[in-house]
């Protein structure tokens, strides 16, 4: 017979340990999920191969440079969108449906711990996305400009883009039912891919639409990444635009997030 003792000895683990445990759990679950992997890796990789490895990139208005040089930063933007927004929104929506958010709400993991863990898992996925897509890009002849500034620009864009789109994903998962989040997140992903200046520069849009498209966070993300790797500059204006989106959407998340 087991002689376990149940005498109370409660206490919360240190914050970094809780965040690391949560990030590790979300990351493990994500890489086990085929649909999430499709969104995060297979679609961006397929697009990069199509745009950079076939003649398709020459026929589409990706930018003024070599197709692979224009395609890599824009596909990176799509990858950031998929991991920080679409995957995060769908996963969080179903966590709410399955009672996981409620379960964690009654645990020592605080709201900040939950959000930090989720961001940690997204950043871990993005590291893999960056490695796979950049590696494939180099194999296809990608020649980024700018050296250190380009690297800093890409890191800045990934962080600001994750903050903005992650907030949008959490907002959607907080106010919609899980099924509605699934549909809306996929729809918005497609709409931004086609109409949000992810693959096509803003200047290629009809003149009447350019003013609106330029304000979208997707345009700031993709154009910022393109500026960093094609022109070799740190895209401060795009970073500021994404940071403003992150502040507004983050505020809305703080007003709408529920543990149940």
């Amino acid at each position: 017979m087991t002689t376990a003792t149940y005498s109370p000895r409660p206490g919360s683990a240190p914050w970094p340990r809780k965040v690391l445990a949560h990030a590790r759990m979300e990351f493990r679950l994500l890489i086990r999920n085929g649909e999430q992997l499709l969104l995060a890796l297979v679609i961006p990789l397929g697009l990069l191969l199509l745009l950079g490895g076939t003649g398709l990139g020459n026929r589409l208005p990706l930018g003024d440079g070599a197709p692979i040089d224009d395609a890599v930063p824009r596909v990176l933007g799509l990858a950031v969108l998929s991991s920080s927004f679409t995957s995060l929104a769908i996963a969080t929506g179903f966590e709410r449906r399955y009672g996981v958010i409620k379960r964690l709400g009654a645990s020592p993991l605080s709201r900040t711990g939950l959000l930090a863990g989720k961001i940690g898992a997204v950043l871990a996925v993005q590291l893999i996305q960056l490695a796979v897509l950049a590696g494939t890009g180099f194999a296809l002849g990608w020649d980024p400009a700018g050296g250190v500034d380009a690297v800093l620009g890409v890191v800045l864009m990934v962080l600001c883009g994750t903050a903005a789109f992650g907030s949008l994903g959490l907002l959607m998962a907080g106010v919609l039912r899980a099924e509605a989040t699934l549909a809306a997140a996929n729809l918005l992903y497609l709409l931004l891919l086609v109409g949000g200046a992810i693959l096509t520069p803003v200047d290629e849009y009809p003149a009447g639409l350019q003013g609106v498209v330029r304000l979208l966070p997707s345009a700031a993300l993709a154009n910022g990444l393109a500026n960093a790797t094609v022109e070799g500059v740190i895209p401060w204006a795009a970073a500021l635009s994404l940071a403003l989106w992150a502040v507004v959407l983050g505020y809305l998340v703080s007003r709408t997030f529920r543990w149940d």
Binding site: K18, Y98, A106, P108
Partner: protein, 237 residues
């Protein structure tokens, strides 16, 4: 745990309407009542998920909403259903929740006690109803809480499983854990509880030990409960 004149509203409807009860530390208290009586809302108010419209809730001297982060490490919550990712393995989930606490229970001993060893690597969505219940129970107590809120802990368990959970609840109480039990199983409440609170229409309509409520076991708790919560008879013409 003290609840004083609690009112919780969902829009215009009051789910809990002036409910008061006290649970003494180191005892087992059962909250009984018909569906929609306000049991779950009351317990969720103690867990910080519901904000009172009026009244006062204190658990271990803390306000569950205002002191949420301070209270959560000190309580354990067993949800009525769900509470785990569909793809997470049973043991993986238990280890994860244990990591959030400073002095969790010994995992192998808990797994053995709750007979979770055979399903440790099974994804949550493939667990049977009984296995899900036992895992949920383990998640509620793994952090060695001072108060454990258990929502229908034996639903879906076979008679052996029920008896094992009952013994575990007694062991928790004997080791100093306060247990708040929400259940529809009258035999469970009668067997385990030091105090029983019957809730109807958002209020406590009867409280006492099983011995008091059943008038020294001259009636069954189920008969007492049915009499207390019987719907008003319709007039016949």
């Amino acid at each position: 745990m003290e609840i004083d004149n609690l009112v919780v509203r969902y829009g215009e409807k009051a789910a809990v309407n002036g409910l008061s009860l006290t649970v003494t530390g180191g005892t087992v208290a059962s909250v009984l009542g018909p569906n929609g009586a306000g049991k779950t809302t009351t317990v969720e108010s103690c867990e910080g998920f519901r904000r009172p419209y009026s009244g006062r809730v204190r658990v271990l001297g803390l306000d569950p909403v205002a002191d949420h982060d301070a209270l959560m490490p000190r309580i354990g919550v067993m949800l009525q259903e769900g509470g785990a990712w569909s793809g997470v393995r049973a043991l993986e989930m238990l280890r994860y929740v244990a990591t959030l606490h400073t002095h969790p229970l010994d995992i192998p001993a808990l797994v053995e006690r709750l007979d979770l060893g055979t399903c440790g690597r099974t994804p949550y969505r493939r667990l049977s109803g009984g296995q899900k219940q036992r895992l949920s129970f383990a998640l509620a107590i793994v952090g060695r809480p001072e108060v454990a809120f258990l929502d229908e802990p034996t639903t879906g368990l076979d008679p052996h499983g029920r008896r094992e959970i009952w013994q575990l609840i007694r062991d928790l109480r004997d080791d100093g854990v306060t247990v708040v039990l929400t259940t529809h199983a009258m035999d469970e409440a009668e067997q385990l509880s030091d105090q029983v609170h019957v809730v109807s229409a958002g209020k406590v309509i009867a409280s006492g030990s099983p011995d008091e409520l059943t008038e020294h076991h001259t009636k069954s708790l189920e008969d007492v409960y049915l009499a207390l919560t019987a719907p008003p008879k319709r007039e016949t013409r």
